[in-house]
């Protein structure tokens, strides 16, 4: 199944992945052949089949909605690539 360069760029944008032009070319080829392979599922009639999202049947487990302090703010913040006091610092969000 052929996939166009524009489609690759569109999907990369959705996935927030900056790809080099060489990567886009390679992705176009490889995605095309992987997608053709997986389209074999079209041969199967699945009308009336209930989808599986979870292999083990179990109900929704409930717990009390109570707050537990994690107590290690610094341990979390020290992993931040950039911070200011107790905040994660990021580049400007609203672009001109």
């Amino acid at each position: 199944m052929a996939i166009t360069r524009e489609e690759v760029l569109h999907v990369a944008r959705l996935a927030r992945l900056a790809l080099s032009p060489a990567e886009v070319d390679k992705m176009k080829e490889q995605l095309g052949s992987i997608l053709s392979y997986i389209r074999q599922l079209d041969r199967l009639d699945t009308s009336g089949v209930v989808p599986t999202s979870h292999a083990i049947e179990m109900g929704t487990p409930f717990r009390d909605d109570s707050v537990e302090p994690f107590g290690q703010k610094e341990e979390i913040l020290k992993n931040a690539p950039d911070r200011e006091e107790d905040f994660f610092r990021v580049p400007r969000i609203i672009e001109d």
């Binding site: 599922l41 989808p51 292999a55 979390i76 969000i93």
Partner: protein
């Protein structure tokens, strides 16, 4: 155990020697650390080695033992973890640049349970980046080498763990399996690897790849060793809503169980073309081993097998693309330089931080979930997943376990398949259906190829019936004695 070097002991022997004070945990840990130093440069099974903390933990174990206290079945025994399990204060990278300097603020439940059972942590094992791969070649730190033939891959994604266990640089390890990542490397490295039933082992603190398929499990040099480790790490965890609240059976006792009368299913789809001759012969030997102990062979069919790989390569990337959205350079990990705004920073961070295979899977996943394609791919795959599950349910109405090859060939050469994703994906063809159905699976050594490469047999079981797998695998292990330690020269 006089005459056998300590690194060649089984985990059970090591634990007993410590308990009986034949050796201290410090002596044993020091011996393994020194073996890592000598052997690991040839294998590259480890991303991180922890000589200081391991020796400190061993000293604590020795003191506790001197005071008459043992924590649990792994008291003082040095083990290691795939670098996908969060370890508080120890860098956890998933073999990715994007998590290069991630220092988890908490322990995974698996990490915590190992510590509570008394295990000493030697280090963190190499793996395919984010567990995406079948050869450990997608690691950003370079491939692990198969200790049986160092120009070959160890399998993957838990290749570092399987190689280290086979190289005697740890007594056991814990890996993860989303489509075969415990069983396939165990098979290729000649050791035992068990993927438990989905929900048996907590996924808390285990970095997510495909949440409906991921499951942690042991890799060890014997079936009883794997049973001991699984008993330690299994169990309900309120921090993982998919972990199942049922008792953990005595897995070690199950390895002693008789297989007389056990019905062993042989799915004809797994023995069709494409299967290496030495793999076929070895699996037939495994079958004979079971039959010689009174099991019966039953021919079965799992008719949707040929659709499993496609189903997997829709569901796993879809879940991965969603799980990996969290790596955006804001809260932890790598952040790319330059760029003007937030979106550009995130896109560059992800473009530079992820390797080729991870990007490929994020792209597939994003594509199959995108508007206009969702039903055709993801919706369709979820329905086929139902058919695959049903195949197993029907098969298990007439058999107790299913016997198949674990991998279609023995270990291939480093670099052989790295540029051909589809061929690489085919190495997991026999292991993938198990994850889609959520059932347990184990790989146990059953033979050697003509060039001396290990071959494993896979046993699949009913949901939460790991005991039958341990019983059958232990029977194969007793009937077909094979070396578990690779013949490495020091």
């Amino acid at each position: 155990m006089a005459g056998i070097p300590v690194h060649a002991w089984t985990l059970i022997e090591a634990a007993r020697a410590i308990r009986d004070k034949e050796i201290s945990s410090r002596e044993l840990t020091r011996a393994l650390l020194s073996r890592i130093e000598r052997i690991d440069p040839k294998i590259h099974g480890y991303i991180t080695v922890l000589p200081e903390t391991a020796m400190r933990e061993a000293a604590v174990c020795d003191e506790e033992l001197a005071g008459g206290h043992t924590r649990g079945p792994l008291h003082g025994v040095p083990v290691a973890l795939k670098d996908i399990f969060c370890t508080k204060g120890v860098r956890t990278t998933c073999a990715s640049r994007i998590l290069d300097n991630f220092d988890p603020p908490y322990n995974a439940t698996v990490t915590k349970k190992l510590r509570e059972a008394g295990a000493v942590l030697l280090g963190k094992h190499n793996m395919d980046e984010f567990a995406m791969g079948s050869s450990t070649e997608t690691s950003r730190l370079g491939p692990t080498r198969n200790p049986w033939a160092t120009d070959r891959i160890p399998g993957g994604s838990s290749g570092g763990t399987a190689a280290a266990v086979a190289a005697g640089t740890c007594f056991a390890g814990v890996g993860t399996d989303t489509g075969g990542s415990i069983r396939q490397p165990a098979s290729l490295c000649g050791v035992v690897g068990m993927k438990p039933t989905y929900g048996r082992v907590s996924r808390y603190g285990m970095i997510a790849f495909a949440s409906s398929l991921d499951q942690g499990g042991p890799i060890a040099r014997s079936v009883p060793d794997a049973a001991v480790v699984l008993a330690v790490i299994a169990g309900h965890d309120r921090r993982d809503s998919t972990s199942v609240d049922i008792p953990v059976p005595d897995f070690l006792a199950a390895t002693e169980r008789d297989v007389k009368g056990m019905r062993v299913g042989l799915p004809r789809e797994y023995f069709a073309g494409g299967l290496d001759a030495s793999v076929r012969e070895s699996v037939e030997r495994a079958l004979k081993a079971l039959l010689s102990r009174g099991a019966q062979a039953v021919e079965i069919s799992l008719p949707h097998t040929e659709f499993a790989l496609s189903t997997y390569y829709i569901i796993a990337p879809a879940e991965a693309s969603s799980n990996l959205a969290r790596y955006d350079g804001v809260r932890y990990g790598f952040r790319a330089d330059g760029g003007t705004g937030l979106i550009e920073m995130m896109s560059r961070t992800r473009g530079e931080g992820f390797g080729a295979e991870v990007k490929r899977r994020i792209m597939i996943g994003t594509y199959v979930l995108s508007a206009g394609y969702y039903e055709a791919y993801y919706g369709k795959a979820q329905k086929v997943r139902t058919l695959l599950r049903r195949d197993f349910t029907e098969a298990f109405s007439g058999v107790d376990v299913i016997l198949t090859p674990t991998a279609p060939t023995p270990a291939f050469r480093i670099g052989e398949k790295v540029d051909d994703p589809l061929t690489m994906y085919l190495s997991d063809i026999y292991t993938i259906p198990c994850n889609l159905a959520g059932i347990p699976g184990i790989s146990v050594p059953c033979g050697m190829s003509p060039d001396g490469l290990p071959i494993g047999a896979q046993l699949l079981g009913k949901h939460f019936d790991e005991e039958a797998l341990f019983a059958a695998a232990a029977a194969i292990e007793r009937e077909i004695p094979l070396p578990r330690l690779a013949p490495l020269e020091e």
